[in-house]
Assembly symmetry: C2
Homo-oligomer: 337 residues x 2
C-alpha cells in the first residue's frame, strides 16, 4: 500500500471549503505514506498549505465553479477553475486521480470532457457505495445519466462490479437490476429491455431487485438509470436522517427515555457512522480515463480524508485500467473475473 | 360520519387471508356504525361471518386470484374471483367502494376494467400515504403506470391533491414533482417536460423536490411516474426496516444498551407505528369510478380495519366525484379548491 500515487484535489470543493478540504488532505497525507497530493485552488489557499506539508504540491487555479452554475457551461468557460485544472492534471499524466467535493455536475462534465471517456464505454456512470448497516453495496448510476438506454445499464453493471470487487473487496460480486417486481417481465420499458440484455450479456446477473432490497441486500451491485438511482440514494439519505431525528425526539420526550438515550448513545453513534455517507467519502465516476471521485457537498474533514484515500485506492487497484480492458474486450460477456 | 356507506371487501386478499381480513372487517364494523360491508369470497368463509355480523352481507365468489398470477390475464379469466366480483358490486351500484389486500396488479386491472376509468382521466394512478414521523404526505404514482407521459403526471398531481385535501385534511395541499435537483431544468426527459406542464397547468405546483424530501417534506403531494414512485416507496420501507433492526441490534449488543432499550421501548414503539404503512391501511387507486383501496399484502388486522374505514371515508368525502368534476372541467387548471 505504499506505492506512490499522485492525486489532484480540488481545494475549493464543497460547502465548507477550503478549511475542511485542507484538514482532510492533511489527514490523508498522514495516513498514507505513498500519497502525493497536488492541491488545486487559489494561490493564497494552496501555496501556504503546500509549503507546510511534505508530499503536497500547489497548483494555482484562479477560478472556482459555484454549486449553482450550469455544469457544462461552467466547465467550458472556466478553464482555470480548480475542477478543470485538477482534471487536466490527470489528462496530462501529472496525477493519476482527481477528488473534489464540489459541484457533482461540473466534476462529471470536466472529467468526461477533459480526462475523457474510455473507448468502448457508451456513458460513464456515477456510482456510490450505499452505506448500509448490513454491508456496503455499489449503486449505479446515481445521477450522471438521467435518460438511459438498456445497453448503458449493462456497462454500468460491469463497471460497478469491478468497483465492488476491487474497492469493497467482494470476491464475486452479483449485480441486480433495480426494478418494481421480481418477475422478469416487470418494469418500465427501459427496465424490461435492460433485464433481457443483462441476462444475456452478464455472467454475474442476479435478476431484479426492489427498492426495499437496496439496503441490506443480497447483491453487491444494484444497477439502474441515473434518475431512479439518484432518487433512491437521496431517499435513503432522507429516510435515515428523518428516522434518526425522530428516534432522538421520541427518546427525549420522557425522563425515562432520556435515561435510556444515555445508555444507548454509544451504540447509536456507531450505527450512525456506519450508515453515514462520509464513511466512503464519495462517489466514483466510472468509465473515464483515470480515477475520479466526487464527494458530498456537505463533506466534513473525515469525508474528505476518506475520499482522497479512496481515490488513491482506485488508482492502486487499477479500476480504470480493468474497465478499459473490459471495454476493449467487446460486449464484456466475461469481464468480471 | 354515520351516513351509510357500503364497501365491498375481498375476503381472500393478502398473505394472511381470510383470518386477518375477517378480524379487520369485524373491527371496522364495530368502529363505524354507518358502515355496511359486502364480504366477497368462498361461501364457507363469507357466509358464516355475515351470519354473525350485523351490517355484513355475504357475496359468494368461488375463485381467488393468486399473488403470483399475471394480473390482467387473471382478471379476464377469473370472472368469479373475489377481486372481480367486488369491483363488479361497485360497477352495479350495490357498493360504493372496494377494498382488497390482494394482488395490487389484479386490483388495478379489475378496478380499471370493471369499475371503469373516469372520463377525461388518461390513466388512473396508485397513490399512497407515506407514513412519516414528520407528517403524512401523498406520493403518486407508486406503480400503476411504469411508463408515463408528462400529461399523466399533471393529472396525478390533481388527483393526489384531492386525496391530500379530503382524506388527510390539508386545506391547501402543495404538489411537488419528484426530481433529481431543484432547478427547473433538472431531470430526465419526462421530468423536464412534466415540470413545464405542471408549472403551466397547476395552481398548487411547488416545483421540484428530491428523494430526501419525501419523508418530512414541505409538500403535501409528491408526484412521479409509477416506476420511480414504486422504487422510492419501497426504498423508504426497506430503509425503515433495516434501520429499526440495526438500532435494536446496536442496543442489544451491550448490557448498558439493553437497559437503555427498556427505557426507550415505549417511545420507539410509538414511532414505529407512526412510520408503519399499516396506519393508513392501503393505497387508493385514483381516477376510477368509485373508491378503490389496495392494502399491503402483509396487512395485519389493524391495517385491514384502517383500509376498510379509509375506503368508507373516501366514499363519504366524494373523492371520486370531485375527480370526475375536475376531469370534466377540462385541463383542470383550477381544480383544487
Amino acid at each position: 500500500m505504499t506505492d506512490n500515487v499522485t492525486i489532484a484535489v480540488d481545494a475549493m470543493g464543497g460547502d465548507n471549503a477550503p478549511e475542511v478540504v485542507l484538514e482532510g488532505v492533511a489527514a490523508a497525507l498522514a495516513a498514507d505514506e505513498g500519497l502525493i497530493v497536488i492541491l488545486c485552488g487559489p494561490a493564497d489557499v494552496v501555496e501556504p498549505f503546500a509549503a507546510q506539508h511534505a508530499r503536497c504540491r500547489a497548483q494555482v487555479a484562479a477560478e472556482v465553479i459555484d454549486m449553482a452554475e450550469h455544469p457544462a457551461q461552467a466547465v467550458r468557460k472556466k478553464k482555470d477553475s480548480s475542477i478543470v485544472v485538477g482534471c487536466r492534471l490527470v489528462k496530462d499524466g501529472q496525477a493519476q486521480g482527481f477528488f473534489s467535493a464540489g459541484s457533482t455536475g461540473a466534476c462529471l462534465a470536466a472529467a468526461t470532457l477533459v480526462m475523457g471517456r474510455i473507448k468502448g464505454i457508451s456513458r460513464p456512470c456515477l456510482a456510490t457505495v450505499v452505506p448500509s448497516p448490513a454491508r456496503p453495496i455499489v449503486l449505479c448510476d446515481v445521477g450522471a445519466n438521467a435518460d438511459c438506454k438498456p445497453e448503458y445499464l449493462v456497462q454500468f453493471a460491469q463497471m460497478g462490479s469491478v468497483y465492488a470487487q476491487k474497492i469493497l473487496g467482494y470476491e464475486s460480486p452479483k449485480a441486480a437490476l433495480l426494478n418494481i417486481g421480481e418477475e422478469d417481465t416487470k418494469g418500465n420499458a427501459l427496465a424490461q429491455e435492460a433485464h433481457q440484455l443483462m441476462a444475456k450479456r452478464l455472467t454475474n446477473f442476479a435478476g431484479n431487485c426492489e427498492g426495499r432490497d437496496v439496503l441490506g441486500a443480497q447483491y453487491e451491485v444494484v444497477v439502474t438509470d441515473g434518475f431512479t438511482g439518484n432518487v433512491c440514494l437521496k431517499t435513503i439519505e432522507g429516510a435515515s436522517k428523518v428516522l434518526f431525528g425522530a428516534i432522538k425526539d421520541a427518546m427525549m420526550s420522557t425522563t425515562k427515555g432520556k435515561i435510556g438515550a444515555l445508555c444507548v448513545k454509544d451504540g447509536l453513534k456507531g450505527l450512525k457512522s456506519q450508515v453515514s455517507p462520509d464513511t466512503y467519502g464519495g462517489a466514483p465516476l466510472l468509465g473515464v480515463k483515470g480515477a475520479c471521485i466526487v464527494g458530498h457537498g456537505s463533506s466534513g474533514a473525515v469525508a474528505i480524508e476518506n475520499g482522497v484515500l479512496t481515490t488513491a485506492r482506485v488508482v492502486r487497484q487499477g479500476v480504470s485500467e480493468i474497465i478499459q480492458h473490459m471495454a476493449q474486450a467487446g460486449n464484456g460477456s466475461d469481464t468480471i473475473k
